[in-house]
């Protein structure tokens, strides 16, 4: 028998706060959430059992369906947009340009500001009677029309647009770090091979930076699933319910509409979806690799 080893004990002891948080704040909450989703609770939890009633109602709800659709649209647009714009900015900043520090700060600052007001400013800028369209009309271009934020079928794209504005800088920073980490010799080898620069980026550099892209995508995906502030600040879910998102659905039902059972059902669906969609991928990214390295 191995004697108990002190060093293991101190490592375990150091993790006690983490264990407490993981068990109570995370695991406990998740289990509680799932439990409540099977009850008929209103504003306060009630521990009865009504089966899948809340889930049935959830999937009958037009707002939930729209929320999920919007999440998909927003998610794809936001992640792709941030990656593309962030990557372009990173690539251009990596060309030994003058004033790199200034540009970098400009690209990053939106991430430092709360969306409560930057969202409002975007709502203005995109508002047809206040913003760009109005300015263009004032300047004489009266046929100019840009009213997507006011159109139910287009508004979600504008939300995505503002989201990209906020987070592209972060992606830029991550990818810039990745670009800086690429072996100089790869560039030389590609030049000797006569490969055009854009081709090097697409065929060689991007695949090489997959680690950085993963980090960026994980951070962006976390933001997508939780997207709330930006919608509230820019559209409040409107016009109508055309820019509703799941997190807002959960929150509205949690406290305003006083139906925590439905809210937790929605949250559980989100959780399961994340588990199913991202779980295997996260597992591969963070656990399988580790086993191999060990």
């Amino acid at each position: 028998m191995k004697p108990l080893r002190l060093r293991r004990l101190s490592a375990q002891a150091a993790l006690i706060p983490t264990w407490v948080i993981v068990i109570f704040a995370y695991l406990g909450t998740i289990l509680w959430t799932i439990r409540i989703s099977f009850t008929s609770s209103g504003i306060l939890p009630k521990y009865d059992f009504v089966g899948f009633e809340q889930y049935e109602r959830l999937f009958r709800s037009a707002r939930w369906i729209i929320s999920v659709q919007n999440l998909a649209i927003f998610g794809v647009m936001f992640i792709v947009g941030c990656l593309v714009l962030g990557f372009l900015m990173a690539v251009f900043l990596d060309q030994r340009i003058k004033g790199e520090g200034i540009f970098r700060t400009i690209f990053l600052y939106p991430y430092a500001m709360s969306f409560i007001v930057t969202g409002l400013v975007w709502a203005w800028i995109l508002n047809p009677t206040l913003g760009i369209q109005h300015a263009m009309h004032n300047w004489g271009w009266t046929s100019f029309s840009f009213d997507w934020l006011a159109r139910g079928d287009r508004a979600i794209y504008m939300v995505g647009f503002a989201g990209i504005w906020q987070s592209a800088g972060l992606v830029m920073a991550i990818l810039l770090a990745g670009l800086r980490g690429i072996d100089e010799d790869i560039w030389k080898a590609a030049r000797v091979d006569g490969i055009p620069t854009w081709r090097v980026y697409i065929s060689i550099v991007i695949p090489m930076m997959s680690g950085m892209f993963v980090t960026a995508i994980v951070l962006l995906a976390i933001a997508v699933v939780k997207v709330y502030d930006i919608v509230v600040a820019m559209t409040g879910g409107g016009p109508g319910i055309s820019t509703e998102v799941p997190a807002k659905f959960v929150i509205d039902y949690l406290f305003n509409r006083q139906n925590i059972a439905l809210a937790t059902a929605a949250a559980s669906v989100m959780f399961v979806a994340v588990l199913v969609v991202l779980g295997p991928w996260l597992y591969r990214q963070y656990f399988r690799k580790e086993r191999r390295a060990a």
Binding site: G42, I43, L44, S61, A62, R63, A123, W124, N127, P128, T129, L130, D147, L149, A150, G152, A155, V232, M234, T235, G236, G237, G238, P239, G240, I241, S242, D252, Y253, L254, F255, N256, R257, Q258, N259, L262
Partner: protein, 387 residues
């Protein structure tokens, strides 16, 4: 002095002035008002905060709710103080307007103090804009639609509508109550009568409401209620549907309700749609705080305070025996309806926040999407009421 921490969401200019009246009166009687205003979303943030604090065992002394079912469940879980002893002491049950008394009572026990009566839906108009366009204030819904069309032709914003969903719901109820009538409203909202929803009358309501979609401007999205009424006040738009709290904004702009800005309590059936604000008093342990609650409750319902508060708030006092003297034209019209019995309880009083949320989703989706037909609207409405 005893501290009383009060959560509310009265943060706009008019509301700020009004709530100051409460504070002054309370402090004058030895209390110590600790203000806990939380703005935003028609009280969302404030309610989130308050409810969590009650659950967390650290309740505020008092907390604002809208008249209605928002706090029912807190009552059934025994989290709110029963106000019956106070009501008996001060004789509130006789003095308070019965609609409101009903609304703050659960199983005959009083759990909240109503502080104002609002009519949640009026039609406001700009006499100047109408005059310029050579129009008369409308008498019927058809008049209104004609006027709107005329204004649209003139290039004026016909209907100043805000983008927030709840303002669109107000507009909808205005059509429902004043075009469809009190009975239709009660059958649908109180009795959840699906047949009433499927009746031709309701379809007509849906059609009229749908027609309004044509008269809003593209700037609606992102506009808040006060900006919408401001358009009417500034003579930039013809009409606006909003509750009587709009008068607060009119006052702040140094205009006179009923004169500079016209008010119509209903185009067909003139009806007072009773809503309002209440304060609840969560159960607290400390005796001192309980005393504070008692004091605050008493102050809130003192006639003098009621008058001062409601004047600033643009509402009507909850006490039956207040004189209409000194009130503006619009308030007087409202009070007359109240006295004549031409009133209905607001939907908040009749249905759960859950259902009212579903209705809100439906109404705002319909109002902002012209491709939806009235019939679709009716069917979905029936689904909500029926299920």
């Amino acid at each position: 002095a005893d501290k009383a921490e009060v959560i509310h969401w009265w943060t706009s200019g008019g509301e700020h002035a009004a709530v100051m009246e409460f504070e002054k009166a309370f402090d004058a009687q030895g209390g110590d008002w600790v203000d806990a205003a939380v703005a935003g979303g028609g009280g969302d943030a404030a309610r989130t905060d308050g409810i969590n604090r009650i659950i967390g065992g650290n309740p505020p002394t008092a907390m604002q709710f809208n008249t209605g079912k928002q706090f029912d469940e807190l009552v059934s879980n025994g989290l709110l103080r029963n106000l019956d002893p106070l009501a008996k002491e001060y004789g509130w049950k006789d003095k308070i307007n019965p609609v409101l008394l009903n609304a703050v009572s659960v199983d005959g026990h009083m759990y909240a103090v109503p502080v104002d009566i609002h009519s949640n839906t009026w039609l406001w108009y700009s006499p100047e804009v109408l005059k310029k366009a050579g129009l008369e204030p409308p008498k019927t819904w058809d008049d209104l639609l004609t006027d709107l069309a005329a204004l649209k032709k003139d290039g004026v914003i016909p209907l100043a509508q805000a983008g927030d969903a709840w303002t669109q719901v107000l507009t909808f109820y205005n059509v429902l109550i004043t075009q469809g009538g009190k009975d239709l409203y009660m059958k649908i909202i109180k009795d959840h009568d699906v047949d009433a929803v499927k009746s031709p009358e309701f379809l007509k309501v849906a059609e009229t409401f749908g027609k309004l979609r044509d008269y809003v401007d593209p700037g609606m999205q992102g506009r808040q209620w006060n900006q919408a009424i401001a358009l009417v006040i500034d003579n930039k738009a013809g009409f606006n549907f909003m509750g009587d709290w709009a008068k607060g904004e009119i006052d702040v702009n140094k205009k006179v309700p009923g004169k500079d800005v016209g008010c119509i309590p209903g185009l067909g059936h003139q009806t007072y749609w009773v809503g309002g604000d209440v304060f609840v008093f969560p159960k607290v342990k400390s005796k001192a705080e309980q005393a504070s609650q008692a004091l605050l409750a008493k102050v809130l319902l003192e006639p003098k305070v009621q008058l001062a508060f409601n004047e600033k708030k643009g509402a009507v006092p909850v006490l039956k025996d207040v004189s209409s003297e000194g009130m503006d034209q619009c308030a007087q019209k409202g009070l007359a309806l109240l006295k004549s019995g031409d009133y209905v309880p607001s939907s908040d009083i009749l249905i759960t926040p859950d259902m009212s949320g579903s209705i809100q989703d439906l109404v705002s989706a319909y109002f902002t999407d012209k491709s939806q037909t009235p019939q679709q609207f009716v069917d979905q409405f029936a689904a909500i009421i029926g299920g």
